[in-house]
Homo-oligomer: 614 residues x 2
């Protein structure tokens, strides 16, 4: 099976076209300007000297790389000469400053030239990976191969140092990413050596101790505690982990490697059954930015980095090439409509690095006694840029290439994984998807005359018992297989799928301590949340009942459809100002819920996804 | 008003006599043996040299001091020649090693003699304070004044260095305690200079910056952010705070200082209305062992140090001399029956430093990625000794002197603050209290012929609407004044008070986020908890209803009376192994609750006070 690239997809009117417009007209420029202000572009001049301001950071190459990749995806669809010119300038600087042996890294050329390939944790191969992804994207978008050649030269050096000579101070990347980038380069150039190097890093990983002795020291943190083929539980830094798992899935697919595939299946299951938030967020703990133990899903302390949700989508979409399983598409859907999209403000100008499921501002003064050692709560409002600014350009490249996740196909079947208005070129001709999803459950799919085979529609878990399909106006009674409904088609057809997106109550497994006695409200793929700006302070005093009697209401300020449910509010009445009471009173109230992706767009306020349940 | 000392009290058969027996027959020896093993007694030889093991710690003097104080309280009631001999040996070593100018401190004589009085955080004055309390207690118990003289000589030096010359590198104690000790010394010796020095430390506190630049740096941590008379909220390290507040209350009482009294009132109210656990525990956060923000009362991360609850009782009991207010006795009662007593195992051999209201062992592996930086969860099982072992000898001295909290009196009235079987010598003759409280709500009080005046009985908040009083068999309809019921007595009388100790549901104020949607069960002063050893793993899956239909059951293993309530358990059925479900099922079950003070006495297990509420 293959995934159909966004390059073969034209996004149509609807939810994602609106997001892409903000992305290409505002966010890409906002990120550029912040990166310019902070010296990230100037760093490519290699002119920084000791004592100067704006010292290059070890991961600045990757920040600009992801920005270039974003630009490439945007100009692939519509020209943006100003952005393209700026990329060309960066590439020219790269050419000028590439070392004679091919090496290219700002920090280790300008700041610490004697430390090249000496510390596994210092993101060198990670930067090389992101620059490689950018080079491939930019070549695909423009046909310009200068950056691609620069990177191939650099990667030849990396191949020699790491694979042939094994002469670096470490053996595998401390921050994985290059593995999946090399597979992209292989597909772009057809040169198998890049696939071989990717496989080498995966084969070698976890074969010996190579954890640097530093603050974050732990082999699990680096996914180096076991050989990749023996890793069955998601561990350590969650972004590193899922970039690795994506690379493992690539290699499993390309080499038809059953052991790697088995590990990937187990890793996905471990996340799916034990370590994922309702929003698609992963990486529960700020300590190590890491996966923790099963069922440990704290809400207000959730780390749930935007990049981690994106990396999970990369992993899951690669798994879709190896098996038909609607859980993969369900996870991707959860992440794109919730835990990834929450990472950028509605106006496209500011970002969340962490996407917790709850903000309780009253508890943030805990460090009264010890200001230096406060608890690691997520930022209370979105930021325009971060010191470690991996997330903003990850969001821009992700939204620009959202078309990557819509369809897949094999010999006989076109799979519709995500319901996004679009024209998708398949080997059976172009199919058209039209929908106002996720705010409408109705999806129209039109196939052309050349379509002879099966159309497989993912039936999301929320609608598995209540979906309808018509083909050319006739109802089809369909069952699902691995979560997909299959329709045989032999002529131009109009298919209409209707999913049940009515608001539903959701409960967490009894093993999830954090959500005990709580309920969340979802509607279709959207997770909803309550904000104090709508519901008054002290959201934990609210008690939510069933969704029966709820109503939907357009919110013109946020551009959302909100849900208003009936609830109760615990009253102060019985307490007389005290902490504890033998009695309690609830007062009836309404609770306004907005989609999680739209949270914290009206200034600092409290927010919660999980409400105390009746 | 005055508090009647335990010296004028003989504890009768019942709950506390049993605890005192374990304390004087087992715990005092256990603590001694652990202290001997760890070198704390040997340290008084002043023979430690660089390179030797068991280097004295800056607070070892205070550990032995509290142990000596405990021995004094025990031998005051019944002889223990072996213990007394051992104290005498320590005192002889103190005499031998006291410096010519009076200075006495192990660490700063043996380990860092040039650092004397140089660092405010190094517990020097704290050690002096505890040694002073011990000297007073030992003199009272035995009439031996050697230790008292040693300490008076040392305190004369402290008075000169700190008050007269102001020549130390700091001005007030970093760890408060000496303030209240000096008041005890004043009462013992009648020498007003000790009272003056105590007042000096309180007057001087917060008048200038004197926070050492170190790990815990913060003026709030040290209660030095404001002059004492302007401190109205409880801040920073909770043990230091409450020892200070106790000293402030002493000085407020002795000097009839309205401003200090006002501050004490406000500090007590801040704790009572915003910062105390249901168990009487205080100091919410492990970070700084500190008070945090109002209504922040985390359960599984609660620090609630045993010493902090003891210090709170010291503060509250001193406040009882200045006003009649049953909230003071209520807090003392909560602490002694719950958050202090939980600090020692039922067999008297092991201890909790922290007394959290919940243990969830499944969440303790959070540090998978970063083992060096794990979250500061409380210890999972009781320990025989701690590196910082302030709590064990604090418990032994506290239990040995529990009689201190039973009665107070003023000209006309004897106040019964706590219901503990005892004979209490008052100026109106001895009164006898007989009760099986807290497991029985019936309390018999017998007064003699010499009693002419009022008897005031504290009516605990849990029983304020449902208590009965008979005098010589006749029912008296009584209202309460500041939470006390007053009975005029002019002849030998038998008073019977019956309190309602039926199990009750308790709810937390809507502002307490942590307890939202939860319920706790109490019976009289006892807080109850559920343990996994009784109720199976996964206590958060339980849902507790009303106490209607509950039953009591003797637990011979723990020596407790347990409560069995009807409840439900969230079933795995609807989840199919998944994390989230649109449906849920509860199964009926019984929930066994044991008193909190008896928790974690059957090996490591989960425990919770707060249960999900119907």
């Amino acid at each position: 099976m293959k995934n159909i690239s966004f390059r073969d997809v034209t996004i149509g009117d609807g939810f994602w076209k609106d997001r892409q417009k903000i992305n290409s007209e505002k966010t890409i420029y906002n990120v550029r300007d912040r990166f310019a202000e902070t010296g990230r572009f100037d760093a490519f001049r290699f002119e920084w000297k000791d004592g100067m301001e704006k010292k290059p950071h070890i991961f600045w190459d990757s920040d600009i790389a992801k920005w270039i990749e974003s630009v490439a995806y945007i100009i692939e669809k519509s020209p943006a000469p100003e952005l393209e010119k700026q990329v060309d300038e960066v590439v020219d600087l790269m050419e000028k400053n590439q070392q004679p042996d091919g090496y290219f890294n700002i920090y280790f050329t300008v700041c610490e030239p004697d430390k090249r390939f000496s510390n596994r944790d210092w993101h060198e191969l990670y930067c090389a990976g992101h620059l490689t992804e950018a080079a491939v994207a930019y070549y695909n978008a423009t046909g310009k191969d200068k950056m691609l050649k620069i990177m191939c030269k650099y990667l030849d050096l990396i191949d020699r140092i790491f694979r042939v000579e094994d002469s670096a101070a470490f053996h595998t990347p401390g921050h994985e990413e290059i593995e999946l980038a090399l597979v992209k380069l292989y597909k772009c150039t057809g040169e198998e050596k890049w696939l071989r190097l990717s496989k080498y890093f995966i084969d070698r990983r976890g074969m010996q101790e190579e954890v640097p002795e530093d603050f974050w020291c732990s082999s699990k943190y680096y996914q180096s505690h076991l050989p990749c083929r023996e890793q069955f539980t998601a561990e350590g830094h969650s972004v590193r982990a899922c970039y690795l798992y994506a690379g493992m899935a690539d290699i499993a697919f390309e080499y038809d490697d059953a052991q790697l595939k088995k590990a990937c299946d187990a890793l996905f299951d471990d996340i799916y059954y034990k370590k994922i938030y309702l929003t698609g967020g992963i990486g529960q703990s700020a300590v190590g930015e890491a996966f923790t133990v099963p069922y440990d899903l704290p809400n207000s302390r959730a780390y749930t980095e935007t990049c981690a949700a994106i990396a999970l989508v990369y992993f899951a979409s690669r798994m879709q090439k190896m098996k038909v399983d609607s859980r993969l598409g369900d996870v991707i859907e959860k992440a794109i409509f919730n835990g990834i999209l929450s990472g950028v403000s509605l106006d496209g100008s500011s970002f969340f690095y962490k996407n917790p499921l709850e903000f309780l501002h009253a508890e943030r003064g805990r460090n009264v006694g010890v200001p230096k050692h406060h608890e690691p709560f997520p930022e209370a409002v979105r930021q325009r840029v971060f010191g470690c600014s991996c997330c903003p350009p990850n969001v821009t490249r992700f939204i620009a290439s959202i078309g990557d996740y819509i369809c897949g196909e094999d010999e006989n079947t076109v799979y519709v994984h995500q319901y996004i208005s679009s024209d998708v070129k398949t080997s059976q001709g172009t199919i058209r998807i039209e929908t106002a999803y996720p705010y409408d459950g109705n999806i129209k799919i039109t196939t052309g005359n050349t379509f002879k085979g099966a159309l497989a529609l993912r039936i999301p878990a929320f609608s598995k018992d209540s979906f309808t399909v018509t083909v050319n106006g006739n109802i089809r009674e369909l069952t699902t297989e691995n979560g997909y409904a299959y329709i045989d088609i032999d002529k131009a057809s109009k298919i209409e799928l209707t999913l049940d997106i009515n608001p539903k109550t959701v409960y967490a497994n009894p093993l999830v301590n954090e959500d005990a006695g709580k309920v969340a409200i979802t509607a279709g793929p959207l997770v909803y949340c309550a904000e104090s700006v709508d519901n008054g302070e002290n959201l934990r005093a609210l008690k939510a009942g069933a969704t029966a009697g709820c109503r939907a209401e357009k919110n013109s300020e946020l551009g959302t459809t909100d849900i208003i449910i009936k609830g109760k509010r615990l009253s102060q009445a019985a307490f007389n100002g005290g902490l504890y009471s033998y009695d309690r009173k609830y007062e009836p109230c309404e609770i306004r819920l907005i989609p999680f992706y739209a949270c914290i767009n009206r200034g600092e306020c409290d927010m919660t996804v999980w409400l105390v349940s009746e």
